[in-house]
Structures are given as C-alpha cells and as structure tokens.
Amino acid sequence: MALVDYLPFVVMLVLAAGFVAVSLVASRFARPSNPTPEKLAPYECGITSEVEPTQRFPVKFYLVAMLFVIFDVEIVFLFAWASIFNELAWYGIAAAGIFTLFVLETLVYVWKRGALDWNVKTRSRYAREHFRIEEAA
C-alpha cells in the first residue's frame, strides 16, 4: 500500500479524535461539577447502598441453573458421537468413555463442594472443613 492509501485512516482518526475532544469539552461546559467519592470510583454502578439488605437472597436457583447448563452442553458432545457411532466403533466408545469420566469428575466435584445441597447449612460444610476462614474481629 502506498502512503496515500492510508489517507482514509487518517481522516477517520482525525474525525474520531475530534469527536472525543468536542464532546469532552462541550460536556465540561454544559454539566454541573459536583464530584463525590462514589462518582469518582472506577466502576460506578447505581447508588452505593448504605445498609445491608434486610434479608439474604438465596442463590440456589442460580447455581442449579448454571450447573444444568454446563452438564447439558457436555451432553451435546455425546450426541455428535452417537450420530456416527458405527463408523467410530471401539475407538469412539473408548473416547466417549474417557469423556464421560471427566463429566463424572465434574459431578463429583460439584457434589463434594456442596453445590447440590439445597440446605444452606450443609452446603457450607465443605467450606468449614477445607478453608481457613479467619473469624472477623
């Protein structure tokens, strides 16, 4: 490419930079300036809550839905294998067997970590046994 071919890029660059400069300057004059610590935080997201929520939100459904999606997608791979089952023969069975073992391991992991326990108290058992959770002073 010759140097002149870059001209559209340069025009685009100037337009983009100009747009940013104009909107920054314009908004600077148009807006009231009243910075608070919350506004200056890198990720302002609504108003910072002043008190803890009055009750705890259960996240069980969210967790189960996530697990369902993960396991469901894993089954999709088995479906591809099933559609050419005869051609792959024993090689396919061995490969699918190994794959199934990995899915099983995921299940063991999820189970042991207590993600399947509906009861919050039993679910936190793993955390109590396995993590060093320092008591808040």
């Binding site: 490419m1 890198p42 990720y43 090689y91 990995f102 391991e105 063991v108 992991y109 042991k112 970590r113 046994e129 396995h130 993590f131 060093r132 959770i133 320092e134």
Partner: protein
C-alpha cells in the same frame, strides 16, 4: 479424516491435563492440613511435562497432526519449555503465598495449571481455531485468578478490568479471524498464506490483519492496549501478577508472531508499520509511566509493558526493512526466554520483600539491604538484569535485540533502534531507584523492629533457580542462543 494421534507429541499436554484432573480430585478429599500435596502434585506434574519435550528435542524432527493444524517442531518445543519452566516457577512462588493468604482454595492450582495447558496448546497451533482455543484457555482462568482475593476491592477491580477488556479483545480478535477466514476460505496458516497474494488489494484483508493485531496486543499488553495491566497486576495476588507478566504476555506475543510469520507474510506492508508503532509506543509510554510509580508491583507492570516493546523491536524492524524474519524470530525468542527468567525472579523478590517490609511501596523498602542483605543483593541482581547490565542475562537480551535491528538496516529501523536506546537509559533510572531505596536509603525504625520471619523454602527455590539461570546466561550466552537457533525451525504445518 484420520484419527492418527501421535501420543508422544501430545505427551506434555496429556501429562499436564492429567495433573489438572488429579489436582482437582485430590483437593476434594484432602483435609486442610494435608492440602500442600495438591501443590506438590502440580509442581511435579509440570516438571513431568518437561520430560517428553526434552526427549523430542533430542530426537529432532517435526511431528504434525490433524491435517497440519497441530505441529510439534523445535519452535513449539522451545516455547513449551519456556511456558512450563515459568509456570513451574510461578507454582513454586504460589505455594507459600497462597498458604499464608486467607483465601486458600485448591482451585487455585487447577486454574493455574489449566492456563499453562492453554499456552502449551497455543505454541503448537498452526491454524486459527486451535490458536484461539489455546489462547483463550490461557487467559480464561486468569480472569478468576486475578480476582482471587474475594474480599479485597482492589482484587475485584483487577479481575473486572481484566475481564471486560479481555473479552473485548477476544471479540475483536475473533472478528479479525472471521474476516480472514471469509476472504481466504481456510483457517489453516499455510492455506491462508497461499491465498493472500490474490487478495492483497482487498481492503477487508487489511482490516482483518489490524483486528488481529489489536486482539493480540491486548493480551501482550502493548501500548495503546495496556490500560488494564497496571491495575490488574496490582490487585491480583502477586504470583498471579508474575504469571500474567510472563506466561500470559508471552502467549499473546507468540500467537501474534506465529500468525504474522506463517500466515500473513504476504501482506507485511500492512502489519509491519503497525508493529513498528506498537513497539515504539510500548517502550516509550511504558518506561515514562514507570518513572512515576511508587508501588513496586505497578512499577514492574509498566516495566513489563516496556519490555514487551523491546521484544517487538527485532520483529518489527525486520518486517519494516523487509529483511530475513527468521533472524528476528530467534532474537525475539532469546529475549523472551531471558525476560521470563529475570522477571519471575523480580516478582519472587517482591513477594519476599513485601513479606519482610509488610508493604509494596518502594519508599517502605528503604534500607531493606541492611535488614536482609541476601534479599537486598537479589533485588539488585534482578533489577540490574532487567536494566540490561552485564554480566547478567539482561544485557545479552538487549544485545541480541540491537544486533538484529542493525542487521536489518534502513532508516526507519535505525529510528526504532534509537528509540530503544533512549528507552534503555530511561529504564535504568527507575530500576536503579529501587536498588537505591534498598541499599542507600536509611531504614525506618519500624522496618528494623519488624521480626525477621523466615520465608518458605519454595520462595528460596524460585529465587535460586531464576538467579542461577540469570547469571549463567549472562556469563555464557551460548546457552540462550541455542533457544534462539532452535526456534528458527518453525514448521508451517501441512508437512
């Protein structure tokens, strides 16, 4: 379609993958006091992955699988060694850090090993899909690892920034890849390279190449795509920051070079100026920003941005001048090997020093040399090496870089060399500032009064390995040259 799988060629990946699965299971069934076995298993697994690599290097030859999209040649093997050794060192650093932290969980090793596996896959990839999977497997777990300290707002910020920009860069990268596939009709690098000459006048091709560069530059944190790096390094656990600055940066970097070198040499007039600009900006902005940092991890973050610029120099120079790219490739790989060792050493020093002083601020490190002479000496060693002072390894990296630039010739190359030379001097200032704080400043009462805690053996081992190699390469550079020469054998797949 063939199912022929060369198990020896895949052995390093298989060993690491097996370790990942075993580590996850082992952690579930160990009681809290025996958790360190997970770390032992991970370290042994990563070291075990090196065995087949050394065997294949000794045997020589190229192994190609899956219709040439997965190639194990000397270039791939060398990179796998770099990734495994630096992964090994990061694991060693992590052991005591994670143990001492209140956020210990066994998934740490699982995630770190997954990331290492991704970089192994990436270095063998010779098609866009395998490359993408490898690269994403490398960065994916790091989003979680960066936010490891869940209760710490800075760690959350680190993770969020890294995640948002990482996902954005992935989207741009994928867009570039899809354009490239649409134009050339293939995802394989050799086929793409063959189709390029008929498409050179196509504007969409230039666009796809630029998108690819943007995507890779995000991962390599080259300026102007570096904004996530300092905040992420500062908020992430220090071993994770070390991993980000070495493995994950190298992965993005190597992916860019593989694609440019094997798939897109026919259109170097588009990407060569872009790389030139990236190299010049990364060096200058990285170094100038590092001058103003008070926190040592942020200083290393900006220093690693600048070092990425130095690494880009040989390749950008050779591409702009139109000279032999293979020469530049070996210079870049030598730089990468040396950078990995000394930067990991510097991060290990930061972990040990932060434990000694209880702070990450350079001012608080004043007089550390009097308190702990060995640590002070190591600080001086790694920071001088990063600055490129002989007889430490860093000088050889810089030497190879300048040599390859001068060999390339041409005005624009010499301008780049001049920028690199000025930046080497600037860099020396802030590296020396840390050494000055450690040795010349008077220690505070608080530091002298702090009880001298012994560090864990794993940190000592990390420091010893990286120190030994940094000195060895500095005195006997042929060792590193071997890596560079071997990396010239980059098979383009298909064969």
């Amino acid at each position: 379609m063939t199912f022929e799988i060369d198990y020896l060629a895949l052995a390093p990946e298989l060993v690491v993958a097996g370790t990942i699965i075993a580590a996850l299971l082992l952690d579930l069934f160990l009681t809290r006091s025996k958790k360190y076995w997970v770390a032992v298993l991970s370290v042994v697994g990563v070291a075990g992955g090196l065995v087949p690599i050394v065997y294949m290097l000794a045997e020589g030859g190229t192994r190609s699988m899956f219709d040439g999209s997965y190639v194990v040649d000397e270039f791939a093997l060398i990179l796998k060694i770099v990734f495994l050794v630096s992964g090994y060192l990061v694991l060693l650093m992590s052991v005591s850090y994670i143990e001492a932290d209140r956020y210990y969980q066994g998934e740490y090793y699982f995630l770190l090993l997954s990331s290492i596996l991704g970089s192994l896959v990436m270095s063998s990839s010779r098609d866009l899909i395998v490359l993408f999977i490898g690269l994403e497997l490398t960065t994916g777990p790091l989003f979680l690892l960066a936010g490891w300290r869940k209760g710490d707002a800075k760690s959350n910020e680190a993770s969020l920034k890294f995640f948002i920009l990482g996902v954005l860069s992935t989207a741009i990268l994928l867009y570039g890849m899809s354009l490239l596939f649409g134009l050339t009709g293939s995802v394989e690098f050799t086929a793409i390279a063959a189709a390029i000459p008929d498409l050179v006048s196509e504007p969409a091709l230039a666009l796809s190449v630029l998108f690819l560069i943007v995507g890779f530059a995000f991962k390599a944190s080259a300026v102007p795509f570096h904004f996530w790096a300092p905040d992420t390094y500062e908020g992430a656990p220090t071993p994770v920051a070390a991993y980000l600055s070495v493995n994950s940066k190298a992965a993005g970097f190597v992916a860019m070079l593989i694609v440019m070198y094997t798939a897109l040499p026919g259109i170097s007039e588009v990407w060569a100026p872009a790389l030139w600009v990236l190299a010049a900006l990364s060096m200058t902005v990285g170094n100038l920003s590092a001058l103003r940092q008070g926190n040592i991890v942020r200083l290393l973050a900006y220093s690693s941005i600048a070092q990425a610029g130095f690494m880009l120099v040989p390749f950008a120079a050779a591409a702009v001048a139109g000279s032999d790219l293979a020469q530049a490739f070996s210079a870049t790989v030598v730089y990468l090997v040396i950078y990995a060792l000394m930067n990991l050493g510097a991060f290990a020093v930061v972990i040990a020093g932060a434990r000694r002083t209880g702070s990450g601020d350079i001012d608080d490190w004043a007089g550390l040399g009097q308190k702990d002479p060995v640590l002070g000496l190591l600080t001086a060693l790694f920071f001088l090496s990063l600055a490129g002072i002989p007889p430490l390894a860093g000088w050889y990296a810089k030497f190879v870089m300048f040599a390859s630039v001068i060999e390339a010739g041409g005005i624009s190359t010499l301008v780049l060399a001049a920028i690199a030379a000025v930046n080497s001097v600037i860099a020396f200032y802030y590296y020396a500032r840390v050494i000055k704080a450690v040795w010349l400043d008077t220690p505070s009462e608080e530091l002298l009064a702090r009880p001298g805690r012994e560090y864990a053996g794993s940190i000592k081992l990390t420091l010893a390995i990286s120190m030994g190699l940094t000195i060895a390469i500095g005195i006997y550079p042929t060792f590193a040259t071997y890596f560079g020469e071997a990396s010239r054998v980059i098979a383009t797949g298909g064969g």
